[in-house]
């Protein structure tokens, strides 16, 4: 009964989003406040209907209602509650429903919180958001309905892939979707601005908070995914340049470019065409990602079970939405104002450079991801584009972006002074270089490129601090004034400093971990030892264990320093899931400051004398925590920036020359 109610709510949401789109568009055309208001009401109602539908699906999962095809295929009575709930978005159909929930949620948010937007622009944006809702809801209702019943319900479900039964992956999709579906608002606002023919500083101010929110959530989502891959897949990697990862990374890169170009448009009125283009492209890439992940055109470790007809439908949706956006852009672009002037050395130029590099990086990821398809279509040759390609092409672009980054915020708008920047940054550069040299000299084995990566990381952090010091006149003004300036610093400025420093932390972690991880593997009987860098590991015991929906063998590994001294006990498991017959490795992590000791136990095998032995693999992953901490700090920077009073209060208000 509840499922039927959910199915009804889903169809109702589709009808309501048609109303949302139609009423808002007519309201905008006729300048009718009443119609636009009805459109806003419909937007809120659409979201409410979807909340009901989603709740119904979760209810079906929690109560293990296997008469629902989606529940039968993805759940099991013995599964822990968290994973029953997470199972609701663990499949293609359920995650499509989550996509729609987020999409309409943003539409409702615009209807409720957007009162400072000009009424017509807001009505247009809500109309476009409603139209997107119609497309995706129609797809969900007719081509991938999660509420479909089975004529003969099975007694037990087929359960969720055990690799996905993990807390990080349970919360990963909600963050990820809140992120890249969040760009739909940016897309809708861009279309509305193009229809109205006004892409100006005010537009930048409306777009920026939504972009910040979406980008920050996407950052958290991607980081959770990387962390999951790090400890769940069992070989310690955290980024594989897999098509599905790339699909989420491209909107992130474009979103980062948009965050910056919108600042230029807001402060200086420059780059209107480019900014609105990025606003359209960000959601375009989100839709491309949905298509790539769900159509099966690319092979990936994480793709959903797929169906080509669904791929065609998703491609059509993307074609309609993005096509409409870019055609409108092409019509309107020539009439856009070129905006403010700036000198070659200026903050505008630095941000343009940042955008060029981010665009080149996005193009690299896009082409690398699609290239196997392109070659196949052109000459039938099957090729692979994997991590070694991206490491060679993407990394240099990233290095270039990081190298110029600290200079940007120190340059003045319009016309900057390069000598002044040098005077303010030389100390940060010297400290970064010295620290890099120390790393080169001290850490064995010697690695020049990784040391250079460390220099970049320290340079970013030092640069962020130098910029902060400059703002508050640290070391130059009396302490009382510095304190006054510190407390008066706008949140936006704090956000930037935090985000840039977070990127520096990531660079440090990524360089250090990739270059200097230590690996060790040995088949051990109980009592056997292996050396791992400065540590000795002893397999002291192996026992069996009954989990809620699995059987496990658990090793007890005692870790000590070579010089003596207990460090920790690691208890890696090898889990067998009888439903589905899959085996997974449960990694044991032993955090040591920023490092991780990472222990995995393999299957039982016969040792040299026929005694039972287990393959124990262990890694020291130095500074690996920074790889995950850095991006979270970047997201925090986004959140702090979002809380800036100026952004909240000035949304839609006339441009006031607030300094930042």
């Amino acid at each position: 009964m509840i499922v039927e109610f959910g199915a009804f709510a889903l169809v109702l949401a589709l009808v309501l989003s048609v109303a949302q789109s139609g009423l808002s568009a007519v309201g905008a055309l006729r300048r009718s406040g009443a119609l636009a208001g009805a459109g806003r009401g419909a937007a809120v109602a659409t979201f409410a209907a979807l909340v009901c539908a989603f709740a119904a699906l979760i209810h079906a999962f929690v109560t293990s209602d296997f008469s629902v095809a989606n529940v039968a295929a993805n759940s099991h009575t013995a599964k822990p509650l968290l994973y029953k709930v997470a199972g609701a978005w663990g499949s293609h159909e359920g995650s499509m429903l989550l996509w729609c929930l987020v999409l309409t949620g943003y539409g409702a948010a615009m209807a409720v919180f957007g009162e400072r937007l000009p009424p017509r622009l807001r009505a247009w944006a809500i109309a476009v958001q409603g139209a997107l809702g119609v497309l995706f809801l129609a797809y969900t209702v007719f081509a991938s309905n999660p509420m479909t019943r089975l004529p003969e319900p099975p007694v037990e479900g087929r359960s969720l892939n055990p690799l996905l039964q993990d807390w990080a992956l349970a919360v990963h999709p909600p963050f990820l979707y809140s992120g890249y579906v969040g760009f739909s608002v940016v897309f809708s606002l861009a279309i509305a601005a193009l229809i109205e023919g006004r892409v100006d500083a005010a537009f930048a101010r409306w777009v920026r908070p939504w972009t910040l929110a979406a980008w920050s959530l996407l950052t958290v989502g991607i980081t959770l995914g990387a962390f999951w891959a790090y400890y769940e897949l069992g070989w310690g990697g955290w980024w594989f340049w897999d098509p599905v990862e790339n699909a989420s990374f491209m909107p992130w890169l474009i979103g980062a470019a948009l965050l910056h170009s919108a600042i230029v448009l807001e402060k200086r009125g420059a780059l209107p065409g480019w900014t609105v283009f990025l606003a359209l492209a960000a959601f375009g890439f989100s839709m491309l990602g949905a298509f790539l992940v769900r159509s099966g055109v690319l092979t990936s470790v994480h793709a959903f079970a797929v169906d080509p007809t669904r791929g065609v439908l998703l491609l059509s949706i993307m074609g309609i939405a993005a096509g409409f956006g870019f055609v409108l852009f092409a019509i309107r672009a020539p009439s856009l104002n070129a905006g403010g002037l700036f000198a070659p050395v200026s903050r505008e130029s630095a941000i343009v450079l940042n955008n060029i590099i981010l665009s080149a990086a996005t193009a690299t990821v896009l082409l690398g991801t699609l290239y196997p398809l392109i070659r196949e279509a052109l000459d039938g040759e099957a090729v692979s584009v994997g991590p070694p390609f991206f490491n060679l092409t993407f990394t240099p672009l990233l290095v270039l972006a990081l190298a110029i980054l600290p200079a940007g915020p120190l340059l003045a708008w319009k016309r900057g002074d390069a000598r002044l920047v040098v005077r303010r940054l030389w100390l940060a550069l010297v400290i970064a270089a010295v620290l890099g040299l120390v790393a080169y000299a001290v850490v064995t084995p010697r690695k020049a490129l990784a040391s250079l990566g460390l220099v970049l990381g320290f340079w970013l952090i030092g640069g962020a601090l130098a910029e902060l010091a400059e703002r508050v006149k640290a070391f130059r003004a009396p302490w009382a004034e510095v304190r006054r300036r510190l407390s008066g610093l706008p949140r936006g400025a704090w956000g930037m400093t935090i985000a840039h420093a977070g990127l520096g932390l990531f660079a440090l972690g990524a360089s250090f971990e990739t270059a200097w991880r230590v690996e060790s593997a040995q088949a051990l009987g109980v009592g056997g030892k292996i050396e791992l860098g400065a540590y000795v590991l002893t397999l002291t015991d192996v026992g069996t264990l009954d989990g809620p929906n699995y059987l496990a063998e658990r090793g007890v590994v005692r870790i000590e320093k070579k010089t003596g001294g207990f460090v920790c006990t690691a208890e890696p498991e090898r889990r067998f899931f009888p439903v589905g017959g899959q085996t997974t490795s449960e990694v044991a992590l032993c955090p040591r400051g920023l490092d991780d000791l990472y222990v995995v136990i393999g299957e039982r095998r016969a040792g040299p004398a026929g005694e039972p032995a287990w393959l124990v693999r262990a890694y020291v992953n130095p500074w690996v925590r920074l790889i995950f901490l850095g991006p979270l700090i970047m997201a925090l920077g986004g959140a702090v920036s979002l809380s800036d009073r100026r952004l909240r209060l000035a949304v839609g208000r006339k441009a006031k020359g607030a300094e930042a």
Partner: protein
């Protein structure tokens, strides 16, 4: 897990073993979704590792081993496509976008600077209008 670290497969010479591991990272496990043979636990990945380790032991160079694998399994086996006429677009795009963007920026800045030339003197009509406006104040 990084299946290649299994001690039962390892080469005796640590230098050769390290070289083999570097090669593994560039070779695709053909039956897997998207994994290198360094990571994959699949049987085929194991066979390929044995093959590559044998060749390393025989003293073949990295290039020779890659050529051998390509001849046997096609370019698909290499995770880093070789730089060839067919793949030139792939390899050159990052640089091309960077240069195109840079060129566009330079051109724009130059055009703007020309546009920024000092304003010409007002025409007599404009001057009259200006006087009228100022007079009104």
């Amino acid at each position: 897990m990084a299946a290649a670290s299994d001690p039962s497969e390892r080469l005796a010479d640590p230098g050769q073993e390290a070289r083999a591991r570097e090669i593994f990272k560039q070779v695709r496990c053909l039956v897997c979704q998207n994994e290198s043979i360094d990571d994959s636990e699949a049987d085929l990945a194991r066979d390929l590792r044995v093959l590559v380790r044998d060749q390393v032991k025989q003293g073949r160079s990295d290039g020779e081993i890659r050529a051998f694998l390509t001849e046997r399994y096609g370019e698909f086996v290499l995770l880093k496509p070789p730089f060839s006429a067919g793949n030139a677009v792939l390899w050159l795009t990052p640089l091309a976008v960077l240069l195109a963007g840079g060129g566009l920026m330079v051109a724009l800045l130059r055009r703007r600077r020309e546009a920024q030339a000092p304003p010409e003197a007002l025409s007599p009509e404009e001057e009259a209008r200006l006087r009228g406006l100022l007079g009104k104040e």
